[in-house]
């Protein structure tokens, strides 16, 4: 019994255990539901999955199923970020415990019962539990926002190296707080149309209606909800990675106000999509710029730090350019977490800008189906990049060292970037190739996507398998993590994560 309770306590009461459980849940859902589309469906794996698991896939309900699937995964991702925030940002233990417990029950209920409702018949009790689970996640968000309140005296900045306002109010804590507050409002922004349509009545996917000239306010709210939630998840992750790197100094002092201002403006811009669609995009673009700039400042700081630390470790006093590059790349987990933020601009930001500039030659001419593929592609890629950054950070938390750390890191970086590059080129293929000539082109890009994603998923699978096996060891990695359950911000973890 103790064997079981020890593992249970590790998995459900320590931050590292909770993150592991959530990643494992997402990996499991991805492994099963990933067979329902794409090449695995073409190879007949979909039929096997449906038959063996007894799924019921009514064609009329496809969009509803997908919406629930997206939400179940998103809830788990939000939970992972929440665990990281409650561990990295100082707060009372009781609050941390209450937030983590609430969001854990919430995302698990949403995931298990949401998928059960969507794919295994329509038991409306399950749908009710799915909604209850999401409500718990929201309530955990309310508690998190309260816990992050930046004006609490005990959480004022103690070192002036970090961003601070009005004397000693912690700029980074303020950025976390604003992000959490914006996320709560943006969740409601989607919950309102969801509550009207989502109870088994009407559904639509946001990307399905973008070109339509007449959109209802609720449709606009759903489109806005999708985009702002993803943006805020990305903002939260950038702040978390900043904590991991112990982001500080002048760049931190610039980045935090930019992140705060950008988050506020972008969120307001998205909310204004409903009443003032015509100008909302201008506001969003104005808001996105400081967010991207703040992320760039983080990358500059982080890469500089990586280089400095490695050169010092190696005792190189007058490094050549090659020495610096080598130092930068020596730890793929930390390099990659920032590189992915930069890389995101190529398949997401720059493609978006290009499409906007070339509207007359692209979206106004392309058939809807091509536009939809591009739109779907761009936010799937952003989601994927967020997932890889979480994965790289988690690999560090899990204590990967030496060659395993190198292999895992580079497989995730190169595999995912190849896949995202392939997906980007695929989504804009009409710029390069006509309809009936596209077969070879599609095959080529799909090859990149499949090889890249397969590599990442195999790496993830191996990591999860190792952690599963580890749970059966009496004094495995899990017991180390259980005795040191919280994430170590800044230098502590940076030092501890070098080659071992």
């Amino acid at each position: 019994m103790k064997w079981l309770t020890d593992r249970f306590n590790y998995l459900f009461s320590s931050t590292k255990g909770l993150i592991l459980v959530a990643i494992a849940m997402i990996a499991l859902v991805t492994a099963i539901w990933g067979t329902l589309s794409g090449p695995l469906a073409e190879w007949g794996v979909k039929d096997f999955t449906v038959r063996v698991l007894g799924m019921r896939l009514d064609p009329i309900e496809r969009e509803g199923r997908i919406i629930i699937l997206y939400h179940t995964i998103a809830m788990a991702v939000v939970a992972i970020e929440t665990y990281m925030i409650t561990s990295l940002v100082p707060m009372k233990d009781a609050r941390r415990t209450a937030i983590n417990a609430t969001i854990t029950v919430g995302y698990m209920a949403a995931m298990v019962f949401g998928l059960a409702f969507a794919y295994f018949g329509h038991n409306f009790v399950f749908h009710g539990v799915f909604l209850f689970g999401q409500s718990l996640v929201f309530f955990a968000g309310v508690m998190l926002t309260v816990a992050l309140w930046p004006w609490q005296k005990e959480y004022r900045v103690k070192s002036k190296e970090y961003s601070h306002f009005f004397g000693d109010i912690d700029g980074e804590r303020m950025a976390f707080f604003i992000m959490a507050l914006a996320m709560l409002g943006s969740a409601l922004f989607g919950a309102v149309p969801g509550s009207l349509w989502g109870n088994g009545h009407e559904t639509f996917l946001a990307e399905d209606v973008v070109r339509e000239p007449h959109k209802s306010p609720l449709q606009l709210a759903v489109i806005g909800h999708l985009h702002i939630m993803l943006t805020l998840i990305a903002v939260a992750l950038a702040l978390i990675i900043g904590r991991w790197f112990d982001f500080k100094g002048i760049l931190h002092k610039w980045a935090m106000p930019l992140m705060i201002i950008g988050t506020i403006i972008t969120t307001i811009g998205v909310w204004m999509v409903v009443p003032f669609e015509a100008i909302a995009h201008i506001i969003i673009n104005i808001g996105a710029t400081p967010i991207l700039t703040a992320s760039l400042l983080l990358a500059i700081y982080g890469w500089g730090k990586l280089i400095r630390e490695r050169l010092a470790e190696k005792g190189i006093e007058n490094p050549s350019f090659a020495d610096k590059v080598k130092a930068l790349l020596h730890d793929p987990l930390r390099f990659g977490s920032l590189w992915q933020m930069i890389y995101m601009n190529f398949p997401v930001t720059f493609i978006g800008i290009y499409m906007a500039i070339e509207l007359d030659e692209v979206f106004r001419v392309w058939p809807w189906r091509e536009e939809r593929i591009a739109l779907t592609g761009h936010w799937h890629i952003l989601s994927g990049i967020i997932a890889t950054i979480i994965l790289l950070y988690y690999a560090d938390i899990a204590g990967l060292k030496g060659k395993v750390r190198q292999w895992f890191g580079w497989i995730v970086i190169i595999g995912s970037d190849l896949a995202f590059a392939g997906a980007t080129v695929y989504s804009i293929k009409r710029l390069f190739v006509d309809e009936l000539s596209e077969q070879a082109f599609v095959k080529g890009t799909m090859l990149f996507i499949e090889i890249g994603l397969a590599a990442v998923l195999i790496a993830l699978g191996a990591l999860m398998a190792w952690r599963l096996v580890d749970l059966f060891r009496p004094r495995g990695r899990w017991s180390e993590e259980f005795s040191d359950p919280e994430l170590a911000p800044g230098d502590e973890i940076a030092t501890g994560s070098q080659e071992g």
Binding site: T203, H214, W368, Q439
Partner: protein
């Protein structure tokens, strides 16, 4: 890995550069489906369940719809007649015709569709299955009974109007496709490769052209067997074929605030879910593609409007 990455990128570029048009000279399989192009099916007046969310919709008149899409042979015959009569014009390598224009509302992405001559078909396009030789239009060998493709909305509309018919509205098209019981596909709620021509559905044309495939002869999915490929009779409740897959079909509606025209039915390039009867595609009225065709409807004589 530093060596592998540039090689992979180079391979992609080569792939892009190597994507020339589909090779011509491939022998196209020919099959007689037994379905007569140009036949009509009656759709009686009454309510039906429209869209994914099954909104009750009334069409209070009888109408007839073509049992199968307009074929290449039918369109070639039309071109010969219409060109002789001056209903359409040849402008270089284009067939063009007059359109009275749409009201422009100045919406964000709306493009003006002005009065004047607009493109119907682009002659010489490698995917057009109609050839113009010796002053005569004819269907490309092997494609006579395949759906007419590479035709713009203007070209589809002009064909129907030339014979006194019209393009179906979205409502008319969907009712003809699904009847009144709210089914997802013309034949029911489940789809298999025996029902329709869609991506990777394994029809004999995919054996020749790969999983992307090609158009199939109109009415192909009628329960016949073709070289060992067994189909199911996949007509709609009104006996209309090819309402799911094969080619997208232009519909008539012109909506305020957009220049886009809407297509229904999915095509041989779509996954199965793209063939659900409420699924829409849209493009400008001068858009043409190898996966886009059309069929016409006509009013029933003596029926009350």
């Amino acid at each position: 890995m530093r060596r592998v990455f540039p090689l992979l990128m180079a391979a992609l570029l080569v792939l892009i550069a190597g994507c020339a048009s589909r090779a011509t000279g491939v022998e196209v399989p020919t099959f007689d489906t037994g379905i007569e192009p140009g036949d009509w099916a009656l759709v009686p007046a009454g309510e039906f369940l429209m869209g994914q969310h099954l909104h009750e919709t009334m069409i209070d008149y009888d109408y007839e719809i073509m049992v199968v899409p307009v074929t290449n042979a039918m369109y070639a015959e039309y071109l010969n007649e219409a060109l002789d009569e001056g209903a359409v014009e040849m402008d270089g390598d284009q067939i063009v015709g007059y359109y009275p224009g749409d009201e422009f509302h100045g919406y964000k992405h709306e493009l003006p569709i002005d009065e004047g001559n607009w493109l119907h078909i682009q002659l010489g396009d490698p995917y057009l299955r109609i050839v113009y030789e010796g002053g005569e239009f004819s269907a490309l060998e092997g494609y006579a009974d395949h759906p007419m493709v590479n035709v713009t909305w203007f070209g589809a509309r002009a064909y129907c109007e030339y014979y006194g018919w019209r393009l179906p509205t979205e409502e008319e098209w969907e009712k003809a496709a699904r009847g009144t019981d709210g089914r997802a596909y013309p034949w029911g709620n489940d789809i298999s490769p025996a029902n329709a021509n869609y991506y990777n559905s394994g029809d004999p044309f995919e054996d020749v052209f790969g999983p992307l495939g090609d158009t199939t002869p109109v009415g192909f999915y009628n329960g016949n067997e073709y070289d060992g490929f067994q189909t199911e009779d996949s007509a709609s409740p009104y006996g209309v074929y090819d309402m799911a897959g094969n080619v997208w079909e232009w519909t008539a509606n012109v909506y305020e605030g957009t220049h886009y025209r809407y297509m229904r039915g999915g095509s041989f390039r779509n996954y199965d879910y793209g063939l659900r009867v409420w699924w829409r595609n849209s493009a400008g009225p001068d858009f043409y593609a190898p996966s886009v065709g059309f069929r016409c409807v006509r009013d029933v004589e003596g029926a009350e409007e």
